[in-house]
């Protein structure tokens, strides 16, 4: 599993970070040792999903304590994490930002993939409509993220707009350390071609997003 591999590869010193000088927000009884024991006894492997997924990378660890993440000291740390996530963005290998918007719409609709009941062989979805309004034809959309309707009309289609959107989809934490949005490319949820297709859904003049 590439995502687990990525996760494990990124697994940095979660405890080292958690026990640093910064005050935590948790009261008595929820110290690192008690919490680690609770995690150890609280989860089991299921289907293709292993307990290794509980290991956090630096970004996840930082964003798991909102009082720290929202503190003044946290703002500086957030900037460092954003820079590290931005540096990890992989740009399109063939130089093309835009693929097929119709394929992008299918990926945006799909919420499948990477749960313990999903077959590892099936393609992962982008989960986009779970949180965003995109095409107006789809009335069943979530509101956890902003509307993406008229995306290209509002953002333009120049190189800068394309790079910003690519970076956001590949690694949402490149511009907002504790964004609620998954890091689709970085964590191996979507492949490069999938992201090109979603980019086309946002930017193509033929896409329902811009109509």
């Amino acid at each position: 599993m590439s995502s687990i591999g990525t996760c494990a590869a990124l697994a940095a010193a979660v405890l080292a970070f958690a026990v640093d000088a910064r005050a935590q927000s948790w009261g008595p009884g929820a110290d690192d040792k008690a919490f680690a024991e609770m995690l150890r006894t609280g989860f089991r492997n299921a289907g293709p999903v292993s307990v290794d997924r509980l290991v956090q990378d630096d970004t996840q660890a930082f964003c798991s304590d909102p009082a720290v993440a929202n503190s003044a000291a946290g703002a500086k740390r957030a900037e460092q994490l954003e820079a590290a996530n931005l540096a990890a963005v992989k740009w399109p290998s063939d130089g093309r930002f835009l693929g097929d918007w119709r394929a992008g719409e299918r990926i945006a609709q799909s919420g499948r993939g990477l749960t313990w009941t999903d077959a590892p062989s099936q393609a992962n979805g982008g989960n986009c409509y779970n949180c965003h309004q995109i095409s107006l034809a789809e009335i069943s959309h979530g509101t956890l993220g902003p509307s993406l309707h008229n995306y290209a009309k509002l953002k333009g289609t120049d190189e800068r707009a394309l790079r910003d959107a690519w970076a956001k989809i590949w690694n949402s934490k490149s511009s907002n350390a504790c964004s609620n949005m998954p890091r689709a490319g970085h964590m191996g949820i979507l492949k490069e071609k999938d992201i090109q297709d979603i980019m086309a859904l946002l930017f193509s003049p033929d896409s329902p997003v811009n109509k």
Binding site: C7, P28, A30, R53, L54, C63, N127
Partner: protein, 272 residues
Amino acid sequence: MAARTKVAVAAAACVAIALGFAGVAQEKDDAAKGIEAYRQALKDGNPAELFEMAGEELWLKPAGPRNASLEKCDLGLGPGVVEGAYARLPRYFADTDRVQDLESRLLTCMETLQGIDTRAHVEARFGTPKKDELVALATYVAGMSKDRPVDVAASHPKERAMFELGRRMFFYQAGPHDFSCATCHAQEGRRIRMQDLPYIPAKEGAAAGWTSWPAYRVSAGQMWSMQWRINDCFRQQRFPEPVYASDMTVALSMFMAATANGATMATPGIKR
């Protein structure tokens, strides 16, 4: 394995309806069907009543190596007191020296009163017979607290610790999607697809969640306990599977129940 496949298919179908990742036409179709089924169910009363009755039968029926019923089970208000017990859970129990939610306490009673080795119950998948027993028992007990105020102050130090562990768990991000409970449940007035999301860190949202489970899910045609609800949240979070009745699950319940303290129990609930 057939049962497991069936569970997986049922779970997938349920999520398909809840998250609606099918095409637009299919989605409207599903939504219309779901709403219609929901109306029918309301007209006839909450099908959860059937599970309450099944749970009461299980409560009264002698079972296990000791051929004993659960009638002497102490859910916190003394042996055999079921009425009002659920509204005061989770709580600290001196005999086990643990904070327990309803379902972990039911396991304790099955062990101590009936002599049942409950490991198979813990390991069983939801939607299979051993878990069905626990869901029915939980539905019966929870129904006996309907309209009662939630009374979970988390005043015992171990209850307080459980609350803090639950609060920390609520914000714990992990997995390929970086999700935590907070990703969906710590913003006010938002929804995923068409599904409204309770804002759990404050009383109103915590109560919306806590006081309405166990609930009959019309779209899935299943009765879900709070343990099942939490289990499926973690599945959608792309986490590994919670261990049934583990401290982690009790901690999250303690966080919700104590945050909802004073709200009115509406158990068993009914959901789309």
